[in-house]
């Protein structure tokens, strides 16, 4: 695009972001502060993910952008266009074709490969924020691996409700060391992070933090021996492709309680429909 560098950010800024990414990869799950820039999209709409993507994107990359699992949601369209316009890279909706996937709130159903990078948009990188709002304190809690407060929170959930009531942004332990927010993906997606062959990068623009899970890293959703982690999903099958093991959106069809369930991952659903057709 005229007057702007490849992928919008200037090269100095990209280098700064890549340094933060390298540090993040070296310390899996640790939040690395970085001098986040203002982006031409608003904070809270993916600026962290966009800066990470802009910094690792190359001219030969093939980019896929999803929001809520879908390629055609408005914000996914907007971000994909942003890179098509500022970097001129090829874009795709097919998970298997993409070399770089930027996502908000989902991990694709199809298993990712070693030659792929997934970039998560993160609104609130600090998993302890709801227990301790002061970042100066939480930083120390991470340094000392002092995660008792989170275990107490889970325990209190179990005593009140019979099980943990966190359904998305379910906290994980990365590499047996750092407590990490997986971003607001449904807990259903958490197991996909464990030993994933692809590099997982997380960008939080407003909070100015980057963190990472390198390929083949141990990622465990917090739980107790007698209350193992249980991801939830609607007990139904996709109305379009018949999938019984994918994450489902609930679509309300009338005002009489009528509803149907469809795959949240539109590419997965479309691929399955094409195969059976």
């Amino acid at each position: 695009m005229n007057g702007y560098n490849f992928a919008y950010l200037d090269e100095q800024t990209k280098r700064m972001v890549r340094r933060a990414i390298l540090k993040a990869v070296a310390i899996p799950g640790h939040q690395v502060p970085f001098a986040g820039r203002e982006m031409p999209l608003p904070y809270g709409w993916g600026t962290g993910g966009i800066q990470v993507t802009a910094s690792v994107l190359g001219a030969s990359d093939v980019l896929k952008v999803i929001d809520q699992g879908a390629d055609d949601t408005t914000n996914a369209v907007s971000i994909r266009r942003f890179f098509a316009r500022t970097a001129g890279v090829r874009t795709t909706t097919h998970t298997a074709e993409a070399t770089l996937i930027q996502t908000r709130h989902r991990i694709p159903e199809q298993a990712l490969r070693e030659d792929q990078i997934i970039v998560y948009q993160v609104p609130a990188p600090e998993p302890l924020a709801n227990l301790e709002p002061r970042r100066a304190e939480t930083r120390q809690m991470h340094a000392l691996a002092e995660y008792g407060a989170m275990h107490v929170k889970l325990y209190e959930d179990i005593t009140r409700f019979g099980h943990v009531s966190i359904s998305y942004d379910y906290p994980v332990m990365v590499n047996h060391r750092y407590l990490m927010s997986p971003s607001p993906i449904p807990a259903f997606d958490n197991p996909k992070m464990h030993m994933m062959p692809a590099l997982q990068l997380f960008g939080a623009g407003r909070e100015k933090r980057i963190y990472a899970v390198p390929p083949y890293t141990h990622v465990r959703s917090l739980d107790f021996a007698d209350h193992p982690f249980r991801p939830t999903c609607a007990p139904a099958m996709c109305a379009l492709c018949g999938a019984g093991n994918s994450y489902l959106d609930e679509v309300v069809t009338d005002d009489l309680g009528g509803r149907r369930f469809v795959c949240s991952d539109t590419d997965h659903c479309a691929t399955r429909q094409a195969e059976t057709a």
Partner: protein, 354 residues
């Protein structure tokens, strides 16, 4: 099918943008607002956008205001997103506000003082009566000095007795949170930078809260000045400072009580406010909040929101705040779905069967 209606699409975005452009322009019979008109007749809006957009450029700010239909936070956002792409060649020398060519200078703590009181162009004593006459051209104003003179700042006048704390000199270069992430505890230079571009309304609310008992510091306007200062920089190949232009600034020195501490004698302390352009509300609110955030340094109890540095700095930026508040408009149906499922499960397991 409902499914299609739920999800957005490229055409929907294109159409929305086209509609926005049409409604922004309004009736085509009316001429397009010129940038000069906005710059001159909506000058205070331009000043606010420059402060929160964090770049001194009146024409760019006017352009942003027009593009944002007068939504000043949106305009500041446009400016910020532009400034961040600009290469940085060098830093200027610190501006010297003591040599400001003041068009306005008032002090609320002395009836008269060297340099005098100068009201300048102020709304302070206007009666807020809507003017229904579309006055085409006001007569030339009397009393505008042809050549404004520098006025010594009140803290210099007052400082000799040691009753007022002197200017701090840390010797360290100031922080720059556009290049380094904000970290806590934050030193005063990062605090001042953050609130200098912070939301005017948020700062005013916090400043107001200190006046109503939440971190009271008994403030007095030591001095408020508005005028032009020279901007100088030293090119490495020259080795001496050259003047590269001038900018309009509003500066507030808020004088506040201080009871003294174990190590310090009692003296008046200062809160500092500085704003691009003519914006007294911003400079004054900033100085109140700056002083409140010095509580810990001055051994005062830290209990009120305005004294909580992390609270103030994490929430004062309206570009960050508006983005995150408004992002709730984005789809959240994956998260909401998982909440639905867990609520259903809890209700089922509660065994009511209802």
């Amino acid at each position: 099918m409902a499914y299609v209606a739920v999800k957005g699409g490229e055409r929907a975005i294109d159409n929305a943008h086209a509609w926005l452009a049409e409604s922004r322009r309004g009736n085509l019979d009316n001429p397009l607002l010129s940038l000069e008109q906005i710059e001159q007749q909506l000058g205070r809006a331009v000043d606010r956008v420059m402060a929160e957009g964090s770049v001194y450029d009146r024409e760019l700010a006017a352009r942003a205001i027009r593009q944002a239909q007068g939504d000043l936070i949106e305009a500041a956002f446009l400016l910020r997103a532009y400034r961040t792409t600009l290469p940085r060649f060098a830093a200027t020398e610190p501006v010297e506000t003591a040599t400001m060519q003041c068009r306005r200078r008032i002090s609320a703590i002395f009836k008269d003082l060297p340099g005098g009181q100068r009201l300048g162009p102020t709304y302070d004593y206007t009666h807020r009566l809507l003017d229904f006459s579309d006055d085409p051209a006001p007569p030339p104003a009397p009393g505008v000095p042809a050549e404004p003179t520098p006025i010594p700042p009140v803290h210099v006048i007052m400082g000799r007795e040691g009753l007022l704390e002197p200017d701090p000199h840390t010797g360290k270069p100031p922080a720059d949170l556009t290049r380094e992430p904000l970290a806590f505890p934050a030193d005063r230079s990062s605090r001042l930078q953050a609130i200098a571009r912070g939301d005017e309304g948020f700062l005013m609310g916090l400043g107001y809260s200190t006046q109503r008992g939440y971190a009271s510091s008994h403030p007095f306007v030591g001095e408020l000045r508005v005028g032009e200062v020279a901007v100088e920089m030293t090119p490495p190949e020259l080795g001496f400072a050259i003047n590269i232009g001038e900018i309009t600034l509003t500066e507030c020195q808020m004088v506040t009580q201080f009871r003294g501490s174990r190590s310090e004698k009692p003296q008046f302390t200062r809160g500092y406010g500085l704003a691009f352009g003519h914006n007294e509300r911003r400079a004054m609110a900033m100085s109140l909040v700056d002083r409140a955030m010095r509580a810990e340094e001055l051994d005062e109890p830290v209990s009120a929101p305005a004294q909580n540095v992390e609270f103030v700095l994490s929430h004062c930026d309206n570009i960050e705040a508006t983005g995150f508040v408004e992002h709730l408009k984005l789809p959240h149906y994956v998260d909401f779905q998982s909440e639905l499922e867990i609520l259903r499960r809890i209700r089922t397991e509660a065994g009511d069967g209802a």
